[in-house]
Amino acid sequence: MAGGPPKALPSTGPHSLRDMPHPLAGSSSEEAMGGDSTPSPDLLMARSFGDKDLILPNGGTPAGTSSPASPSSLLNRLQLDDDIDGETRDLFVTVDDPKKHVCTMETYITYRITTKSTRVEFDLPEYSVRRRYQDFDWLRNKLEESQPTHLIPPLPEKFVVKGVVDRFSEEFVETRRKALDKFLKRITDHPVLSFNEHFNVFLTAKDLNAYKKQGIALLTRVGESVKHVTGGYKLRSRPLEFAAIGDYLDTFALKLGTIDRIAQRIIKEEIEYLVELREYGPVYSTWSALEGELAEPLEGVSACIGNCSTALEELTDDITEEFLPVLREYILYSDSMKSVLKKRDQVQAEYEAKLEAVALRKEERPKVPADVEKCQDRMECFNADLKADMERWQNNKRHDFRQLLVGLADKNIQYYEKCLMAWESIIPLLQEKQETK
């Protein structure tokens, strides 16, 4: 069962549909829970998430169980994520439980994807599969292919740019897990993308690799037709509203890039500050050893500075792990959105070109040829999808950034609260009258 030692492969081998018990066939799930060795699918009942020990090299704690003692952080943990649309959800997807797999050829991490749904598109109410980054990448490509008129959420960066970062470090894996979770949740929330066949397979298939190899093209009508649009057409001018979107995305990405650089600079300065603090505190200790009456006060100050140093380290770690990745995600997002805009331009260009060609043919037919009509159709669909997605994106972006920046402010507040507590606690020590001596 999941929760045991890392398996060599994420899947337990291909099963034919016949082997899978019918969902209404009694307590099969309970049997599966019992850990029997029959070739029944690996079904898991609802389990408490997040409390399992991750089998990682450094043996860390699962996400969301940090315990800063400051008041504001406690408040934040009590706040629930607001439901964006408030509508009743019928699909829930979670990414957790990263595990390291060591094989002869390679080492990689898989994540557990748990799906709960009442939708008819899902044969079973619950699924649990394991996927690796490659699989997510595949999914995203498939979505882009099959839903070209929609904005596909970004994945966290594929390659680690700085050679210093350890791909298997707890922090890196956790950051990635959160991003992958976000990725799937965004798709889940999308009224069109969440019904995509590839998405379904991704969530449910025991052997994804087999499915990938089959290469079944389950393209939608629009997808198929858009696939065949060549890059031969040049758009004369983008309609105002899409031009505005394009301009917005350009400036948006620019500003995010600047914020990213500023945040990195701040972290750099804070780390340098930390280095000095780590030398500063101990000097008070050294001094304390020389003194009599002043020994305790000086030692107290030394300890206090030490506490502040630790708090600062936590702050910089937090910003690195939680703030920067989201910024970068949105930069990637706006990049992919810009390319969708370009595709839209293509479609419009094709339509306009064909329309022009018809007009030039000087035929007196009042009715427009079928293929031009098709183009127009395509264009209008695209425009509609894109507009809807943009609005959705704007809403989500607002929510995400609100959360992100509030989170940033919170981390800074927590840092200062920790320091405040440290300094306030030594005031009585400093004011203490020494009876001896």
């Binding site: 050294t286 950034f401 402010a409």
Partner: protein, 450 residues
């Protein structure tokens, strides 16, 4: 209670000048504690009998600093800063103060005063002057002596120095000090006329004594060791603190960039715009708050620096002891050798080498009369030597007693002052944390309205 007329000798009879006000409550408390009650004058040089206490209290302040130009000793034009020293006497009853003296002094005159005090009160831990040149600066602070911030901090430091001297039970009675506060013209000449420079022990002598003394008082040896360590640790602390200040400055200032970019970003946003814009403003506030914070911290650094320099004063007292002890040991040794010489002459045995012995061997025995004469000379010398040794011993013991009393006083003062300094430093940190919380809470509110 009348004020006794100024003593022709360097000591004055009137009670110590009680300083009021000044840069810190600490000094007031210290002064109050020291001058209240009957403090025995422990200088031993001039015993204080019949102290006349003034009803009035004295306020000393270095109230202004002014740039001046003049000609220096080699007739070259120079720019220097002059400081205005004002002395006020305060009526007990109504607390009104009347300006009694006001004059201008420059840093070199303060130095002269201190050097004089060092020579005439070697058993006292003489308060230090603020630093001559700016050291331990972090990058934003100027190392320029003419910089107004430096001048201002120096002004405070000089005032502090005067208040320390004025509240010292021994130093406050010094005439030269009194004249420093009251007699503008001619003061330098008066100081030099005391011939104190001649009385000063040479550095070489002191160094020699340090290496050769055999039996110094263990307490002084330990104290010297302590003062070395103290100097080393406070220097280190000040250096690192300056670097910490530098880095902290950088952290705060970079946040100012957030202000700018949030503002630019808000221009393209509809609903998010206001929240971003106002949050950006708070980031600007945050960035600019560091200037005041670090300015306050300089005061803490100055307090540490005072004790850094005090360590040197402690060492000076220890050196004086070593010198006196070495002097004593040398005199004792000298006396012992003379006694032995005398004994040998009297008994005819030659154990010690002497020139006379050599010449006797070379040129023949001396006559009994010659020997008698020599013995007599030696006996006189021995007598003198014994007297000298006795007085040196006494001197030495007095010195140790008085010095140690002042050292104990100093220790208490140091513990008090440094505790206060640490408390005020902690309070500064607390204030900084609270400001940080405030700013980020404001920013958070703006963000949550996005």
């Amino acid at each position: 209670m009348e004020q006794a007329p100024p003593d022709p000798e360097r000591q004055l009879k009137p009670a110590p000048l009680e300083p009021l006000g000044g840069p810190g409550a600490v000094l007031e408390a210290a002064a109050g504690e020291e001058t209240e009650g009957t403090r025995e004058d422990s200088s031993g040089v001039d015993t204080m009998t019949g102290n006349d206490f003034w009803l009035k209290k004295i306020e000393i302040s270095v109230s202004e600093a002014e740039k001046r130009t003049g000609r220096n000793a080699v007739n070259m034009q120079e720019t220097y800063t002059a400081y205005l020293i004002e002395t006020r006497s305060v009526e007990h009853a109504d607390g009104q103060s009347v300006l009694t003296d006001s004059l201008w002094r420059r840093y070199s005159e303060f130095e002269l005063l201190r050097n004089y005090l060092l020579v005439y009160y070697p058993h006292v831990v003489v308060p230090p002057l603020p630093e001559k040149r700016a050291e331990f600066v972090w990058h934003k602070l100027s190392a320029d002596n003419m910089d107004p911030d430096f001048v201002e901090r120096r002004r405070i430091g000089l005032e502090n120095f005067l208040l320390r001297v004025a509240s010292h039970p021994v130093l406050c009675r010094d005439k030269i000090f009194y004249l420093f506060l009251t007699q503008e013209g001619n003061w330098k000449e008066t100081v030099n006329e005391t011939g104190f420079q001649l009385k000063a022990d040479s550095r070489l002598k002191a160094l020699n004594a340090t290496f050769r003394v055999k039996n110094p008082d263990k307490r002084f040896t330990e104290l010297k060791h302590y003062s070395d360590e103290l100097q080393s640790v406070i220097s280190h602390l000040l250096r690192v603190r300056a670097r910490v200040a530098d880095r902290l400055y950088g952290v705060y200032k970079v946040h100012g960039n957030y202000g700018r970019v949030f503002s630019e970003w808000s221009a393209i946003e509809k609903e998010m715009g206001d929240g971003l814009q106002s949050a950006g403003h708070h980031m600007d506030v945050y960035a600019s708050s560091i200037d005041d914070i670090l300015e306050d911290e300089e005061h803490y650094a100055d307090q540490l620096k005072e004790y850094l320099f005090y360590a040197e004063a402690l060492r000076a007292v220890c050196r004086k002891h070593e010198l006196m002890q070495y002097d004593l040991e040398t005199a004792a040794q000298d006396l012992a050798s003379k006694k032995q010489q005398c004994e040998e002459l009297a008994t005819g045995t030659v154990r010690t080498f002497s020139l006379k012995g050599m010449t006797t061997k070379l040129f023949g025995q001396e006559t009994p009369e010659q020997r008698e004469a020599r013995i007599k000379v030696l006996e006189e010398q021995i007598n003198e030597g014994e007297q000298q040794l006795k007085s040196k011993n006494l001197e030495g013991r007095e010195f140790v007693k008085n010095a140690w009393a002042d050292i104990e006083r100093f220790k208490e003062q140091k513990n008090r002052d440094l505790k206060e300094a640490l408390i005020s430093y902690a309070i500064m940190q607390i204030s900084m944390c609270k400001k940080g919380i405030q700013v980020w809470t404001n920013a958070k509110e703006c963000f949550s309205k996005m």
